[in-house]
């Protein structure tokens, strides 16, 4: 245990005097440890998840009956703008980077990320972006007294964002908050790429890299490509609003369509940036609970790279009603549908992994199974929306809202929950309660399906998104009421989840290093891992190093 004093200077101090709460806060703020930064990312994202969830609830109350006056249109517009912006930039991105930060070095046998200080900088600048966005509730009025938080929608279409249509500073806060989160994202993406390329332990060739690490590698490249146009567009918009340039100012000859292209060339890859890590969690969790190696490792890597590549060329499927002309529409229809091929490969490979296995239905696996069915359905409604003429009807309707919540909640959030139940023991050293976990899963699944299955129907019946209320004669009222009721089950489930985390952290069952009998390197060190992760640099000989150790007579590398 001599190395404890070497690697843990604060540990030796602790022996002298119990650290005060100030020491603890200081150690977290100044930390450059990838595990602590990862946990801070996740904690920060969870806080924003609750805030974004409350915003969603306010919208659901308002929409539950026609001609409702629970909120004013202005407040409702702020709620959906903040809900969307928060969930994408301050929940989705940080929680996925949080898991990436925590897991990638452990999975590739490294002691930390390649650039620990950049890592810390990226986290804090992202966190500041979120605070700045929410400060708009106080400071958005500006000198004009014109509204508080941003109310232009999360894709902030020009020219609604022009100074004349959006006075005050709310849109400026939106620009700067998202801009800062983009800087943090690029920093972390850079860190992940360098870490994965250069810090792999002995024997871990790219062909033995855990699929989760492969996915983070591809995602990080996509972040480089996608964040650039967004940042450029944000700067152009800021210039329009502050010094009177006319990039998007249609009154002065600027182009509203230009903003759409800029935004969606970021916005669509962004969807894959969020969903690919969810695939990565599934790649790690489904094999362990099926007791089988992932089926088609090489095909999975190829499909990931394929999705990353094709997803950069599909953005204008958000613009089928903009008037691109039939040739443009046809191209983006085809490109969008082609994504379904590598995505299909992934679903089939997960199916083949389960096939012939011995499936145990622990909570992480339950959420993964929910993910498989729901992602399948979300992909198929995505095909419908990719058919340009069908999209002329469905685009910007509640069908779209149902579709992308199926992806963001039904697929991504489900896999985030699965990841929590799976890696919580590694992060804290304690198991989460299986009993509460099952309550969480079943209640959330019930609520999810009531809300988001039915959400497609008012869209088919002509209900556009982003309306603060609607006419009683349209026949949308009862659907919306049931949709809102579904949200109640989801809230209860989330409360159970939060309670489960707190309770398990306090007095959960001790986990030990490898509670799931898993195969990747993070399970070879203690739970929680020491500051330095591994006392000795691991050496691996296959994709499943712990399988090799557990089955010395039947090692994996014989089949690679």
């Amino acid at each position: 245990m001599n190395d404890t004093t070497y690697d843990h200077p604060e540990g030796s101090l602790a022996a002298l005097a119990k650290p005060t709460w100030l020491d603890v806060v200081n150690s977290w703020i100044t930390t450059v440890d990838h595990k602590r930064i990862g946990i801070m990312y996740i904690g920060y994202a969870l806080i924003f998840l609750v805030i974004g969830g409350i915003e969603a609830l306010i919208m659901r109350v308002q929409l539950s009956v026609p001609n409702n006056h629970f909120t004013s249109p202005e407040v409702f517009n702020r709620m959906f703008t903040m809900h969307g912006t928060t969930m994408v930039f301050f929940v989705g991105m940080p929680i996925l980077f949080g898991f990436g930060n925590y897991l990638i070095p452990l999975m590739i046998g490294a002691r930390d990320m390649a650039f620990p200080r950049l890592n810390s900088f990226s986290f804090w600048v992202s966190a500041f972006g979120g605070l700045l966005l929410y400060f708009s509730f106080l400071g958005g009025d500006g000198l004009y007294g014109a509204g508080t938080a941003p109310d232009v929608g999360w894709f902030a279409y020009a020219p609604l964002t022009a100074r004349i249509f959006s006075p005050g500073h709310s849109t400026d806060y939106w620009i700067l908050g998202v801009f800062l989160s983009g800087i943090g994202s690029v920093g972390t993406a850079l860190n992940l790429v360098v870490t994965i390329i250069s810090l792999r332990c002995k024997g871990m060739t790219m062909g033995r890299l855990p699929l989760l690490a492969w996915i983070y590698l591809v995602v990080s490249w996509m972040v480089f490509i996608a964040i650039g146009p967004l940042t450029a567009a944000q700067i152009m918009l800021l210039l329009d609003r502050t010094v009177g340039s006319h990039f998007f100012d249609a009154q002065a000859g600027g182009s509203a369509v230009l903003w759409m292209h800029f935004f969606w060339i970021f916005g669509h890859p962004e969807v894959y940036i969020l969903v690919l890590p969810a695939f990565g969690f599934a790649n790690e969790i489904i094999p362990v609970f099926s007791r089988k190696a992932i089926f088609g490792y090489a095909a999975m890597v190829g499909a990931t790279v394929g999705i990353g590549f094709v997803s950069l060329g599909v953005w204008a499927h958000h613009m089928f009603t903009v008037g691109l002309g039939p040739a443009g529409n046809a191209f983006f229809t085809f490109a969008t549908m082609v994504v379904s091929v590598p995505t299909g490969i992934k679903i089939f490979n997960w199916l083949a992994t389960i096939w012939g296995g011995r499936i145990s239905f622990a909570t992480p696996m339950l959420f993964s199974i929910g993910f498989l069915f729901q992602f399948l359905a979300a992909g198929l409604t995505g095909i419908m929306l990719a058919v340009a003429p069908f999209d002329w009807q469905l685009g910007n309707s509640y069908f779209v809202v149902g579709h992308f919540h199926y992806v963001l909640v039904g697929a991504i959030l489900y896999m985030i929950f699965a990841a929590f139940y799976y890696w919580f023991p590694k992060m804290t050293g304690r198991m989460m309660s299986e009993r509460l976990g099952k309550w969480h899963f079943w209640l959330f699944t019930l609520g999810f399906h009531i809300t988001f299955d039915l959400m497609h129907i008012p869209g088919i019946l002509g209900m556009p998104r982003r309306v603060f209320t609607y006419e009683a004669d349209r026949g949308w009222g009862s659907w919306n009421m049931i949709i809102s009721i579904g949200a109640i089950f989801q809230v209860i489930a989330i409360l159970i989840f939060v309670w489960n985390m707190i309770r398990s952290y306090m007095k959960g069952e001790k986990a030990g290093p490898d509670p799931w009998d898993a195969w990747t390197l993070e399970w070879s060190t203690s739970s929680p891992p020491p500051h330095y992760n591994f006392a000795v640099e691991p050496v691996v000989e296959s994709r499943r190093p712990l399988w090799d150790r557990k089955h010395p007579n039947d090692p994996d590398n014989a089949y690679e």
């Binding site: 249109p73 089988k292 089926f295 903009v322 008037g323």
Partner: protein, 365 residues
């Protein structure tokens, strides 16, 4: 073996043609060709065709073509879902861990190139079929030949109302679009040339056609050819600011006679009625005229709806309220009370002035 393969390839080609022609009632007059059976089955599902704005209750060729295409796409995706979800469900039940299972790990399988190729190629073929059917409807709708007798209407989106101009008829009106019914045997479609005066909007009347955006500095065109007279509803489908939800669409499909009558009445100059002279005077001496137009008066504003024939419309405030004197008075008194966030300011008129202006407005038939 080889023979069977050849045969099945031939069959699948046939099927492909059949599939492709499935969505093919294109440009055929809506009533003339019976829907294929899956569309008919689909339309029997009660909830999907209900309400006045369902996308599965088409009343014009563009909406009808999309309807057939949609049912085709829905059928294919439904089959895919049932197969894949069925396999998943089977695997979950069949390969679940049972109490008496051995402690040995199951047989480890690492992959199979043949299977990988199969489930790459088959989805790709489905994608090609879907793409071709989609592109066909897409091209046929957007590149439809424009008959010489079509009606042209310029649609201009405003925060938060619709302006309609009939350039060849010299009519300017707002919020209620009148078009003639189109006889399937001799179609007289209406072409909507669209742009926006301020921010992005989107024109969506689901029973007639898919939506098309109204974008400043850009001109878009769409067409509709409803054959059944009636009122078709919709609303703005692109978020455009505070009152986006209250920017409702009403399309009046008139019989040719009704339409001719409507045109004749709209072409008349504004009614002159001595009994409402006081109201006219109040109107012409307040800021009303900065935004509104009444032909033949000093009111030549461009920002708000043309009021020359206001009383001929069924609704006010972009379809939000019925056009009754009470509602008009309430609206003029305090627009925000009816439509919070409306850009029309409160004019601070006293009760007497309000009554007078309301009477004047109600006289503008």
């Amino acid at each position: 073996m080889r023979a069977t393969k050849g045969q099945s390839a031939g069959e699948s080609q046939l099927n492909l043609e059949k599939l492709m022609s499935f969505g093919n009632t294109l440009n055929a007059p809506a009533a003339a060709i019976a829907d294929p059976w899956p569309v008919r089955v689909f339309h029997k599902i009660p909830i999907l065709g209900s309400g006045p704005t369902s996308i599965f209750a088409p009343h014009a060729t563009p909406a009808h073509d999309i309807d057939s295409l949609s049912v085709f796409v829905l059928s294919i995706t439904l089959v895919i879902f049932l197969i894949v979800a069925g396999l998943l469900l089977y695997a979950l039940v069949r390969y679940r861990r049972r109490p008496g299972d051995s402690q040995m790990e199951p047989v480890q399988l690492y992959g199979s190139n043949q299977i990988e190729i199969a489930w790459t190629v088959i989805p790709f073929l489905i994608v090609v079929v879907l793409f071709l059917t989609s592109a066909r409807v897409n091209f046929v709708t957007e590149r439809a030949a424009r008959p010489a007798n079509s009606l042209e209407v310029v649609v201009i989106g405003h925060q938060f109302w619709w302006e309609y101009r009939y350039p060849k008829l010299g009519i300017v009106t707002a919020n209620e679009l009148h078009i003639p019914a189109s006889d399937p045997k001799a179609p007289t479609p209406t072409y909507l040339t669209m742009t926006s005066a301020d921010v992005d909007h989107s024109f969506w009347v689901p029973e007639l056609a898919g939506k098309m955006d109204l974008i400043p500095n850009k001109v878009n065109v769409m067409w509709i050819d409803p054959s059944k007279p009636g009122i078709y509803l919709g609303q703005c489908a692109q978020f455009c600011g505070a009152e986006h939800a209250m920017m409702l669409l009403r399309v009046y499909v008139d019989t040719p006679e009704q339409f001719a009558q409507w045109v004749a009445s709209q072409k008349k100059p504004a009614t002159e009625d001595a009994s409402v002279a006081e109201g006219k005077k109040v109107f012409e001496h307040t800021a009303c005229i900065n935004c509104h137009r009444v032909t033949g008066t000093v009111a030549t504003g461009q920002f708000g709806p043309d009021l020359t024939h206001l009383a001929s419309r069924d609704t006010i405030a972009a379809g939000v309220e019925k056009n009754t004197p009470d509602n008009l008075r309430k609206w003029i008194d305090d627009p925000d009370s009816m439509k919070m966030g409306s850009l029309m300011p409160k004019m601070h008129l006293n009760n007497h002035e309000l009554d007078a202006v309301t009477a004047y407005m109600a006289s503008l038939r």
